[in-house]
């Protein structure tokens, strides 16, 4: 009987994690934020520069395997313009399902082309994946409705589950391929010392400082691995979500400063999905809304 009750409780928790209630304003805020991020990536990404990629260096990702070569600049720019306009329409909630879907599709193709140069690129994948539930998000939203409802909650909740699992999988493979040595060996020391091989380092002296202090590089790598491995717990303990989002911001900022790796889209996505911004804004600007005080 106890086992059955446990399964029921787990099922209930999973149900809440994926389909639980949120306010209409949070749904609109997150979807608008995702559309804005997609629009920025599509509009300002260097995709048009891919046009000169020679055939010998074009290695299409599976979803673009039908392409015989990198598309011309006209096609890529057309995708960027279309995706940007669609994202703008989604931000202003004009035909939100169609416009959000079109922006997401253009972004998928452009990011796919960016990854068709011989290396799996992850820079855009968190944003692409967390946006998936919003492809079928409610179109008619009563923004004045302050009552958290499941019909508004499921895109936000399932998007958060997807993002948490992605971080968890990243930690899982670190542990699987390198074991605890990833955290407690000299791994991060050499990552930092080899740093320039990965990209333009922003603050080489700081990287060197960390690399030459065992407690700093081992502490940082152990914390980083623990952070990724435990990220999925925020699915059930949602009050931890803002904390994990802030840590994600710090870690992605650190990889940019120390290694020159640009993961700002990951940091922005995590902050958007895991922080209840309407509640935060309401608490800063005026009397708390009806949803204030709920778990983030």
């Amino acid at each position: 009987m106890q086992g059955g009750a446990g399964v029921n409780r787990l099922g209930q928790k999973l149900d809440e994690a994926l389909w639980g209630p949120e306010t209409a304003v949070r749904l609109v805020f997150v979807q608008t934020g995702l559309a804005l991020l997609i629009g920025i990536r599509v509009a300002f990404g260097p995709y048009h520069k891919l046009a000169g990629t020679p055939a010998a260096l074009f290695d299409p990702v599976p979803i673009l395997a039908f392409l015989g070569g990198m598309p011309g600049e006209g096609v890529i720019v057309a995708l960027q313009v279309t995706g940007s306009l669609a994202a703008a329409a989604a931000v202003w909630r004009r035909y939100p399902r169609v416009s959000f879907g079109l922006a997401w599709f253009c972004y998928l193709v452009l990011a796919g082309l960016f990854s068709s140069r011989g290396k799996v690129m992850h820079n855009d994948l968190l944003l692409l994946w967390t946006a998936v539930p919003f492809l079928l998000a409610p179109v008619v939203v009563a923004r004045g409705d302050t009552e958290p409802r499941r019909e508004y909650g499921w895109p936000v909740r399932s998007s958060a589950v997807i993002a948490a699992l992605i971080y968890g999988l990243a930690g899982y493979h670190k542990l699987g391929r390198s074991g605890l040595d990833w955290a407690f060996g000299d791994n991060l020391r050499y990552v930092l010392l080899w740093g320039p091989a990965y990209g333009p380092v922003r603050w080489g002296e700081a990287a060197r400082w960390v690399a030459e202090r065992w407690w700093a590089f081992k502490g940082a790598s152990a914390f980083s691995l623990l952070f990724e491995l435990t990220f999925p717990v925020v699915v059930f303990w949602r009050r931890l979500q803002p904390l994990y989002a802030v840590i994600a911001l710090v870690l992605h900022g650190a990889t940019w400063v120390f290694l020159g790796l640009d993961y700002w889209a990951w940091a922005a996505t995590a902050l958007l999905v895991f922080v209840d911004w309407p509640v935060v804004i309401a608490s800063l600007t005026g009397p708390p809304s009806a949803s204030a005080g709920r778990g983030a």
Binding site: A56, L57, A111, G118, L136, L169, G176, R177, L193, F236
Partner: protein, 157 residues
Amino acid sequence: MTGDVPAPGRPDDAGTPGRAQRWLVAGALVLLLVPGLIGIEMWPLTAWKLFSFARTDRQTTWEVEAVDAGGRPRPVSLDGLPLGYQLAGWHLAQLPGAEYLRRDEVCRTLLEAVAAEHPGVTNLNLTRNDRQLVPHGDDWAVNSVREVLHSCRAEPA
């Protein structure tokens, strides 16, 4: 600390996601978890192996050397080439097991781009560079052992 569990009959029980929405989320989770756990790379399905190999003091990189008319080789940064060429190192890493024609195709492709940036280049070497970080006083130095995998010559104008 646990998630909010609404009591039955509360207003938020209404408007639960429909079948299409549930299938979308379930499909996304399957497509995320199966490649993620097994380790399949089929972008955008991926194993999320970001920085998963522990780094050591040794590192192998694949590089390009431009050779001028005097026969002097000098390394060329792929980051200085157009965007479509900047990840060529990943293609070079696949070349040891590739046929001669593939090696030469990649070499000539890169030579064309390098010659456009660095006039006077007559040959291009695709090299494997086995590097090791060693302490050097208060600093670090890199010992490099380069091995030319393939060379190609510019066609006379």
